[in-house]
Point group: C2
């Protein structure tokens, strides 16, 4: 049978079985549909097919639910970035481009998670483990940056932290300006992926890095 998370599935007993998960799926669905501010606690309950009092057994309030969604989002984001980085294989440059593509793929493919993580204004203190999950996701960018700067001679090596912040900013900027739902706002001469890839290449060249190899 499998819980779809959707209500009115008829054959449910008095107990839901996994309401906590169903509420999170409901939140994701509703955020994707109406934006991070566009859903209510009552909405989530309705969508999960339970009474409006039921969610209180699992979350203190709407904000707690949002914070949980954000934390899970960062966890999945980290996994996706880590996978695409693939330990720097086949080579750091290609792997770096792959991370960029994975970044945009996540923003596009999981708009609800992305919103909860970056746009909903969830404070880092809202959930134990939220900051840690966010740091871990950023850690992948940082690790990848270190791997690239390590190819430069020591005296012209930029701080990897700074580099990862630049990369993050450009990826986030492209994702939120050009790759998301309200992307109809502006037409581009190229895809967001191509734009990011070109931007990263230019930036890396500016650091003295060249795909052809060190120096």
């Amino acid at each position: 049978m499998g819980w779809s998370g959707q209500g009115s599935d008829g054959g449910r007993g008095y107990h839901h079985g996994n309401l906590r998960e169903a509420l999170i799926r409901a939140a994701l669905h509703l955020i994707a549909e109406k934006g991070p501010a566009g859903f209510t606690f009552a909405d989530a309950a309705r969508w999960a097919g339970v009474s409006s009092a039921a969610p209180y057994r699992h979350f203190r309030d709407r904000d707690a639910l949002m914070a949980d969604v954000a934390r899970r989002g960062f966890e999945q984001f980290e996994a996706a970035l880590e996978k695409s980085w693939n330990n720097g294989r086949p080579d750091p440059f290609s792997a770096f481009e792959n991370v960029g593509r994975a970044y945009l793929a996540f923003a596009r493919g999981e708009p609800a998670y992305y919103s909860a993580m970056f746009e909903a204004g969830v404070p880092m203190e809202a959930d134990p483990g939220l900051r840690q999950a966010a740091d871990a996701a950023f850690g992948v960018l940082r690790k990848a940056s270190e791997s690239l700067t390590a190819q430069l001679p020591r005296e012209s090596r930029p701080p990897a932290l700074m580099m990862s912040l630049h990369v993050w900013a450009m990826a986030h900027g492209i994702a939120s300006l050009f790759a998301r739902a309200d992307a109809g706002r502006r037409k581009l001469p190229m895809s967001a992926e191509e734009l990011l890839e070109a931007g990263l290449l230019i930036y890396l060249r500016g650091l003295g890095l060249d795909p052809a190899g060190p120096r």
Copy 2:
């Protein structure tokens, strides 16, 4: 006397005098305080010191008010960028850095406008003139980019449109991740301004541009 826009100023007649402007100021105040989703039409009326029915004389609904705020935001944004560009003086590189600083200064100094422009999800069709205002603001970045790419030999000259999209993305990424209200989310080893300046320099170097002069 001067309308502060604040209510309960006692000496107001039956007519407000300039309710439309007061509502916009109210919106800016409330957005800055509670975020773009955190204010209501009734809130704005209350803050302007009028009954909750009064705003309907000036705006069809809350969305129309938001759209007007966004349009004004883009107009002011354009003016600020244009001023800082200062026709490429004293030289295109310095002027370009100035535009970057002005970008962040606007995002920081006018968080309510910035939110309405980029985060509130206002559709471009919501207001006649909104798209035009947004395009005009972006036009400054584009013009500045053209001015810089023009210094490169024709055969290695990147498309100025692409360059301006990269710059916009990086500036927006830094503004929204590191320079705004919820910036307490992450500590930086340097200011957002320094981060952007460094990022732009690296990027420009990657294009083959050097502050020392052409080539």
